[in-house]
Symmetry: C2
Subunit: 450 residues, 2 copies
């Protein structure tokens, strides 16, 4: 299916939302669950729950496996116990456990009462592990073959056992459930069916249940493994983590690192969050910058910088504050857009909306910081200087946000890698223009006030 077809179907889905929710749900169920998850992400909250509730549990489960964590938890919180139970039956064990982590204990217990005993037991075990540990991300639907079994039997089990999650692979265990070998997926296909498992098995890679998920992901990637076995204190194989999980964990960690380094929220798909949520998430860094900037103004004053310059000297002490704030806002916006372009999160048709929203976030942050610095600088120095600093902060931050949002977009349009320009050039440009804006505004305000 071509990209244009997908876009047309998406528009058709949007139109159906206004006329028939049943038809909209049917349209959602007919496309790839990855597309369905994306479409649902852009539907207003109330409508979203209504449409999702109309999907069959199997379709719900498929969609959730491709959905962002934030969307998943929103959707799941609205389900009743029986709907949640039906969903648990459809999901792979690790995803089902993640889902139960999202709801409160009463709801979790009610939902577990709805599923069959074996699954419920398994899920209760999984819930006992830390979410970020190997135990928290492993699945339990692996095949455990015993020494002496033949390849043909193993393949038969893979084929017929409904509880098996084939991507977790086949491990060979001894009588005490301790893993002694792993059978590479390829060998299952290419080995004669009468061959005993011990003839093709290789040494398994193992981690303990309490190992950190990031460490596990690094092992999977470094050694190019299909899966890694998880053992408990007694050395028994209790779960398996697949390469697919590793990719998810790494992507999650990278996005988190990125967001934390620029002081933005750690959810993925930042550009899809409501504007006020984004402002709130970024305020801590801004508050920190304002405090550091005010501190540096105080410090400069105490060290006697510009003392002999009257009002004009005092103005300059606030330069680090303005430049720091403008720089931070610009870097946040550009980093979020650069990543959004690279991951495909920002589709071409959403570009104008995303850039406008990003700018709004910057302007709001500028206003808040402007008012705060106006009040503080006004009380520390003169009321005229307070106004000068406050106005300059608002203008410089709004300007930096505009640069941070439009420069990456411009680069993308021109076919230049946005990361090159959005980082270094943006910082230089924002420093330079921040200083100029501040001095011009400060002079105007102080002149006007005098």
């Amino acid at each position: 299916m071509s990209d244009r077809d997908v876009q047309q179907e998406r528009q058709a889905f949007r139109d159906l939302l206004g006329s028939s929710l049943d038809d909209a749900a049917r349209a959602l169920a007919s496309v790839h669950p990855a597309d369905a998850a994306e479409w649902l992400h852009d539907v207003p909250t109330e409508l979203r729950h209504l449409v999702f509730g109309r999907l069959a549990p199997a379709a719900q489960a498929e969609l959730l496996q491709y959905a962002e964590d934030g969307l998943t938890s929103q959707l799941v919180l609205r389900l009743d116990a029986s709907a949640l139970g039906a969903l648990l039956e459809e999901l792979p064990s690790d995803d089902a456990a993640d889902l139960l982590d999202e709801v409160d204990e009463v709801m979790a217990a009610d939902a577990l009462a709805q599923v069959n005993e074996a699954t419920a037991h398994e899920l209760r075990d999984l819930l006992a592990y830390e979410p970020d540990s190997a135990g928290g991300v492993m699945g339990t639907g692996f095949v455990a073959a015993e020494v002496g079994q033949r390849i043909g039997d193993v393949v038969k089990e893979l084929r017929q056992d409904e509880e098996v999650e084939p991507e977790l692979g086949v491990y060979v265990v001894d009588k005490n459930s301790r893993p002694v070998g792993y059978i590479p997926e390829r060998d299952l296909l290419t080995t004669k069916i009468h061959t005993p498992v011990e003839e093709v098995m290789v040494e398994p890679f193992l981690v303990r249940v309490d190992a950190d998920q990031e460490e596990v992901a690094q092992l999977l990637t470094k050694y190019g493994l299909e899966s890694i076995g998880v053992v408990d204190d007694a050395g028994r194989l209790v779960g398996v983590i697949s390469a697919e999980n590793a990719a998810e964990i790494i992507e999650e960690e990278v996005e988190e690192d990125f967001s934390r380094l620029v002081g933005a929220g750690t959810e993925r798909q930042q550009t899809r969050l409501p504007i006020l949520v984004r402002v709130r998430q970024r305020m801590p860094l801004m508050a920190l910058t304002v405090v550091a900037g005010l501190g540096s103004a105080k410090l400069l004053g105490a060290l006697g910088a510009g003392d002999d310059a009257g009002g004009n000297g005092a103005i300059l002490r606030y330069l680090p504050l303005i430049i720091g704030l403008a720089g931070n806002v610009g870097i946040q916006s550009s980093t979020i857009l650069v990543r959004g372009f690279a991951t495909g999160e920002v589709e071409r048709e959403r570009e104008p909306k995303v850039v406008a929203a990003e700018w709004c976030v910057g302007v709001l942050i500028g206003l808040i910081c402007g008012v705060a610095t106006w009040l503080v600088a006004g009380s520390l120095e003169s009321s005229g200087l307070g106004v000068a600093v406050g106005v300059a902060v608002t203008v410089a931050v709004a300007w930096a946000a505009l640069l941070g949002a439009t420069i990456p977009l411009g680069c993308r349009r021109l076919g230049i890698d946005p990361a090159i320009v959005a980082g270094p050039f943006l910082i230089a440009l924002s420093d330079l223009s921040g200083a100029a804006i501040y001095i011009v505004v400060a002079n105007q305000v102080l002149k006007g006030g005098a």
Copy 2:
């Protein structure tokens, strides 16, 4: 094998380097190629080539599949045509083509003359595509089944044909080589051998040979595909890109984005590059910051900022320059370390060395920028001010580099996520201390000079 065992073997390998290269090569061949690649990365250049040259072509090929691109190209440039030819025979088609991209045309032609005709033909075709396009990353060892063939025949081909690269999967094509279906890996295992392929095949995901590799990686990830087919202008299936490739492409792009946003080099494993290379790679951003900072000093002067303050007012005009430089250096160091910790590139035992090297890079950058600003500010303003600015730049940048290198390490030791502290707090701290350092140094120097 436990982590400690690997460390012991690594030490044994290092000891062998001093005594017997043949034994060292044997030690290298006996461990996992991922470990071998890492060990070889830390061996001095000359010795590295000697050890690598002693490996059998199959061991060389395995090692290169886990090695960083930078290491691969270094190693390959020293091989002669027959060694390179032997390597080409052992590598999967896409990796072999990448290797040929590294050497000059004469060498490539000589090496291709050494391999069998079919492989050489295939590789020549692959070389014609842009390295960053789907054609440039695809492999050609896929299985092309025809409508009417049975699953058993396909599995047999997978099993017996040595040219087949199994991770590329099985595609069903029509008489004109146009793809009409894909057989999921799992179905090869679980379908009865007499079933015709068209009964289990699903609609294939396809891209054109000239599609951008990043776009392809996004498709593979978004839809959770095992592989994606690559078609030429006539719609014929000419290659396949596997999910494994997608992970590589994405990791590459992410690391590149990260490095570009902070103006560092785009090679992975930054912490393993020589110090002078790293200084050179980061200088463009520094030069840009110095120019912007000098521009902003000029601009502030022209706008009359601090005019009435004499020498003291002129000092303050250089604040944005100092703060900008110190901030950039600090962010570069901390970003490189945060990523290095997260990807496992910086092992515990290398921590002191890596932090020290990172600080050296910062100090050298500080010295270079200090001399440059001393000369320029000295000629623009007074010689005293030039010295003040130059000394302050050097001190502030060296200090920021120390913060940028030690804060992430401290966080890691304390079990705090370095990304949270290394970003926002570092910027605030470096802004504040940069301003203080500047004023103290400037006052001292100007007093001393007066």
